[in-house]
């Protein structure tokens, strides 16, 4: 449980961090909360030569509202999200999701940006970000660019971030009108990661579902937005039979993961059941 030798730097500015990344290439790794990276280093599954510790860069933390958007610094811990009154009121899906990540220690150290950039296929936060249509700000030597969450996750632990880019900020919409949100997951009992996790937000007007976002994690090699389910739900009255029919679409075009904790078949089944349950829970909270 001892990592291979490495150097450690604590840049004070983002530019400094980006320069370090650019000059060390593959040998450098960003250190945020460290709850995914450090265990991998201890097992020597990851052997970065240099850790670029982001903890001293002040601009990476914090949660702020600006008109109809909320900006979350990438280094904001899960605990800050879980306990943010602002988010609880304006984008409750994020605190609902943060609350069931790992355990207290993980939530106190783990960061939202770290979780998204690591792109573990069973992490919770990507599902919520996909559901609310979050946008992610990447900064690199060439400047800044906004990425849609849907375009961010490319595959197993792979994102659209370039080798010298840093995820700095997340932007989520303020959820207005009659809306409801829910994140339901089946945890893998050892790790607490999701065997399947489904995040839903929906808007209801005159008893009809006018907008919906469904993010799914744990099922496939990358978290994804279940567009087919959303399309089926839009404009409906959220009746149980409709929810179930729509939810059965969640596995379309998906290659479910298969491991000692759950077979592909069971994962697919759970995804259908939990998609329906999450939509129903969100609808209930929206007052349907």
């Amino acid at each position: 449980m001892i990592p291979a030798p490495f150097d450690h730097i604590t840049p004070r500015t983002l530019d400094e961090a980006i320069r370090a990344l650019a000059s060390h290439g593959e040998e450098a790794k960003l250190l945020a909360g460290g709850h995914s990276l450090l265990p991998m280093m201890k097992l020597r599954l990851a052997r970065p030569k240099l850790l670029v510790d982001l903890s001293r860069i002040a601009e990476l933390s914090g949660i702020e509202a600006e008109r109809d958007r909320i900006f979350i610094g990438a280094l904001t811990t899960h605990y800050r999200i879980e306990s943010s009154e602002l988010l609880k009121e304006k984008c409750p899906l994020l605190p609902q999701t943060a609350r069931v990540i790992g355990d207290v220690q993980v939530r106190n150290r783990g960061t939202v940006g770290g979780s998204l950039a690591h792109a573990d296929p069973a992490a919770d936060m990507p599902a919520a970000m996909l559901a609310v249509g979050a946008e992610l700000l990447a900064r690199g030597p060439e400047g800044e660019r906004w990425l849609k969450a849907e375009d961010f996750f490319l595959g197993l632990m792979t994102t659209a971030l370039g080798p010298s880019e840093i995820l700095t900020k997340i932007r989520v919409p303020v959820l207005s009108g009659h809306h409801g949100t829910a994140y339901l997951k089946v945890p893998q009992k050892a790790s607490g990661f999701a065997i399947v996790g489904v995040a839903v937000w929906l808007r209801v007007e005159r008893q009809l579902c006018t907008e919906i976002g469904v993010g799914v994690t744990g099922l496939d090699a990358k978290p994804f937005r279940a567009r087919r389910v959303e399309e089926r739900m839009k404009g409906t009255n959220l009746a149980q039979s409709l929810v179930q029919a729509a939810s059965s679409q969640v596995t379309q075009g998906v290659s479910p993961l298969d491991d000692i904790h759950a077979s592909a078949e069971f994962r697919a089944h759970l995804a259908r059941v939990y998609t329906a349950r999450a939509i129903q829970e969100a609808a209930k909270r929206a007052g349907v």
């Binding site: 449980m1 001892i2 291979a4 030798p5 265990p39 097992l43 020597r44 355990d103 089946v186 893998q188 009992k189 050892a190 790790s191 000692i260 904790h261 759950a262 077979s263 069971f266 089944h269 759970l270 059941v273």
Partner: protein
């Protein structure tokens, strides 16, 4: 005993303040000057020949002091010992580092010793081992098949030992049976996962020719003896210290390769050497528990009377034996009768070598398996005969007046009132009410299940004649010249709390405050002799030794008091730590004054030796047999396979209770681990012998959120085996809980026609069963 003040009271653990404040000293907290650190390269293969090794780069790595291979020390360090009297036992040589061949993933191959831990670990990456992979067999049933890969060429059938036990007329029982019920049962491998992994620190003083070895062990005295053999050192030159030990659950009831290896390195290098196990090593190289697969067959009458039982079981031994490996499955056999009168009984155990780490004692050690077999099969019988599971148990219990009760396996159950414990559990759980609730919910398509387990287990190990390495225990009580009391015990608590409970025993005996008593354990140079802590024996055997030593001290004190008071010893009364002359309370002398006189030795009775100290070694005449009734109520969601425990009631009878707080804690922890086996835990190896559950990210231990509120109660049936009347409680929770939970889930799924589910009851299994059975029914109906 005098009127108790402390015995029976919920005294807070005296160990806790140092643990909570981080002031305790585990092996890794012990700092010695000039210490070296060892790291062990372990086999990535389950079965392979070692063709060549290149270690020169590692030897040249900065900070590295030594690199040692198995071949270099095979003649210098003895093999890992195994304690067994089984004449069929086959013992493959287990060197402290592999010689020529590796037989399981995690077997030590090379050790690096360096100035710091980092250098030692880094150097491991510089060692090249050329392995020639050999065919692997990791499944014990497949290992028995003809043509299976052979692990030890001397025994091509892979059989490690056999153990048979047959009592009563089984043929007659099955001939007269009105119904025969069979069930295949799997007791999956479990990892003990002590919170503190193992660790060893060794220091050799060449001038004194003394080796001191600190180890996270449950058995320092046994380890001392075995080390002297392994290292060819005179036993009186070896001192073993078990410092603070962060849990063991049986996994530290052993003598491990690393203990011999680190001791050897300290002698060879003439510098202290420390090795601290990582969690991954812990899961690969520290023993596992359980690992049995068997078939039970029971002959019954229509009214539920059990006539006979037969159990054929394959025990998954792993590649080599550890200290008690071959002793565990026979315990299953001995306890197969459970809490019932079974006139005829047979068990056939086949121990089988597999390319895995050894199995050995894990909390319960053989008895959880026995209890699971009998408690599961009795529920199966109840289901087949449509008898209430409560009634079938009642029918087969021995009555209280039948104790001591002799089982067909030859054990003599000391005392018991099984019906009493069950009645209490039924009352506390509201059993009948839940049966009504179950009917109502089933009509609504909800699946409630009620599970029982009425267990009996074997504790207080044990009479030496029945033990592989002695079953007695020692206790020494010394009243210091200042009146403070020092207690030395041969047991080696590692979480059980005997620093508290033994002090309670002595405090009551002497009438002194708890704070005046200090309990010392775990150091072979301080505690004259001992066996250790395992098999729920510490209080029943070790506590009795302490109690008897205290009585001896008190008798000597009485004689001194009589001498000082010029009175007859018989005329003295002892109260509030003081002897006084009957009817003349002012004429007295305190224990403290007596202790000082005993030390100064100027005015003692003729021929009396100075000092106020006594040692007692207690040899129990029998085991003890705690028992109880656990009732678990679950609700199962067939759509997801999720199991929710809605109520859990445990009524346990461990005889007299010294400290109810400690007993409750043992039951809590025991149930947590029993629940772990029922619902969550499973060591998984693949066909190639790779460990797939090699970290706590994949091996699911129960967490607080997985546990229901536990409603605990007790009945108290003292044992006649020891004067304290205590039976032991360290493993009862683990033994009683597993079948209660599984029985509850099977009961919940009865409407689906489910009669059994193998552990762990993972959601996917439940879901598949429900789906399968539902579909079958639909087909049948169509």
């Amino acid at each position: 005993m005098p009127i108790s003040k402390l015995v029976g009271a919920r005294v807070k653990r005296r160990e806790d303040p140092r643990l909570i404040r981080g002031l305790a000293h585990y092996v890794d907290d012990i700092q010695l000057p000039n210490v070296l650190h060892a790291a062990i390269l372990r086999s990535p293969y389950a079965h392979a020949r070692i063709r060549a090794m290149r270690t020169d780069q590692a030897r040249r790595h900065p900070g590295v002091v030594a690199v040692v291979t198995g071949n270099e020390i095979r003649d210098q360090v003895g093999c890992v010992p195994v304690a067994s009297q089984n004449p069929t036992l086959r013992v493959p040589k287990r060197y402290v580092l592999a010689v020529d061949k590796v037989c399981f993933v995690g077997e030590g191959v090379v050790v690096v010793v360096a100035e710091d831990r980092y250098a030692a670990r880094d150097a491991l990456d510089l060692i090249e081992v050329d392995y020639e992979p050999l065919p692997v067999v990791s499944d014990p049933e497949k290992a028995l098949a003809s043509g299976a890969p052979v692990i030890h060429p001397e025994w091509p059938d892979n059989v490690a030992f056999r153990f048979d036990l047959k009592q009563g007329n089984l043929a007659k029982a099955f001939k007269e049976a009105e119904r025969v019920v069979k069930q295949r049962l799997i007791h999956q491998r479990l990892a003990p996962i002590a919170i503190e992994p193992r660790g060893v620190l060794a220091r050799y003083l060449p001038g004194e020719d003394e080796l001191t070895l600190w180890s996270s062990t449950q058995i320092p005295h046994i380890l001392k003896t075995q080390l002297s053999v392994m290292l060819k050192l005179p036993e009186n030159r070896v001192r073993v210290i078990a410092p603070e030990v962060g849990g063991g659950f049986g996994s530290k009831l052993n003598v491990y390769a690393e203990e011999g290896l680190i001791g050897h390195l300290a002698i060879k290098l003439k510098r202290p050497v420390k090795w601290i196990e990582g969690r991954r090593e812990n899961m690969q190289g520290t023993i596992h528990g359980r690992g049995q697969v068997g078939e039970v067959e029971v002959a019954v009458k229509k009214d539920g009377t059990i006539l006979g039982l037969q159990y054929r079981v394959i025990a998954d031994i792993g590649a080599y034996h550890q200290l008690l490996t071959p002793g565990i499955p026979p315990l299953t056999g001995l306890m197969l009768s459970g809490a019932y009168k079974i006139p005829a009984l047979a068990i056939e155990v086949t121990g089988v070598f597999t390319n895995k780490v050894a199995t050995d004692a894990y909390r319960g050690a053989g008895r959880p398996e026995a209890t699971y077999v009998i408690e599961r099969i009795i529920d199966r019988v109840a289901q087949e005969l449509a008898i209430d599971p409560v009634k079938i148990r009642q029918k087969n219990f021995p009555r209280p007046k039948e104790f001591p009760f002799k089982t067909a396996t030859g054990l003599i159950y000391d005392s018991g009132n099984y019906q009493g414990a069950l009645n209490k559990a039924l009352r506390l759980s509201g059993y009948q009410g839940w049966r009504g609730e179950q009917r109502k919910l089933r009509e609504k398509g909800r699946y409630l299940g009620i599970g029982l387990s009425t267990y009996v287990e074997i504790c207080g190990m044990g009479p030496s004649a029945a033990m592989p390495a002695g079953g007695w225990e020692s206790g020494t009580v010394r009243v210091e010249p200042t009146g403070k009391v020092t207690v030395l015990t041969g047991v080696s608590p590692h979480g059980q709390g005997q620093e508290t409970s033994f002090a309670q025993i002595v405090a009551d005996e002497f009438g002194v405050p708890l704070d005046d008593i200090h309990v010392i354990h775990g150091d072979t140079a301080v505690v004259p002799s001992g066996i250790g802590t395992f098999g729920s024996r510490a209080t029943a055997v070790g506590g009795t030794a302490v109690f008897q030593a205290a009585q001896k001290v008190k008798e000597k004190a009485r004689e001194i008091a009589a001498h000082l008071l010029e009175s007859d010893p018989e005329d003295l009364v002892f109260s509030e730590s003081r002897f006084s002359v009957k009817g003349v309370p002012k004429k007295g002398v305190s224990l403290q004054e007596i202790a000082l006189e005993a030390h100064l030795a100027r005015n003692l009775p003729k021929k009396m030796e100075p000092g106020l100290t006594a040692t007692s070694v207690f040899e129990p005449a029998n085991f003890t047999f705690p028992f109880g009734a656990h009732i678990c109520i679950v609700e199962v969601d067939p759509e997801t396979g999720r199991i929710e425990i809605r109520k859990y009631v445990a009524v346990d009878d461990c005889g007299k209770v010294i400290n109810p707080l400690l007993v409750d804690g043992q039951i809590h922890g025991g149930i947590a681990q029993g629940l772990g086996q029922a619902l969550l835990e499973e060591v998984v190896y693949d066909e190639e012998g790779q460990l797939l559950t090699g970290s706590l990210m994949d091996y699911a231990l129960p967490k607080a959120e997985d546990l229901p509120r536990l409603e605990l109660a007790r009945t108290e049936t003292p044992t006649p085996v020891n004067p304290l009347g205590v039976k032991g409680v360290g493993e009862a929770g683990t033994i009683g809980s597993t079948p209660a939970i599984v029985n509850a889930v099977v009961d919940a799924l009865a409407p689906f026609g489910v009669t059994h589910v193998d552990m762990p009851l993972k959601p996917e299994k439940i879901w598949r069963l429900c789906r399968e059975k539902k579909e079958r029914r639909a087909e049948g109906a169509g």
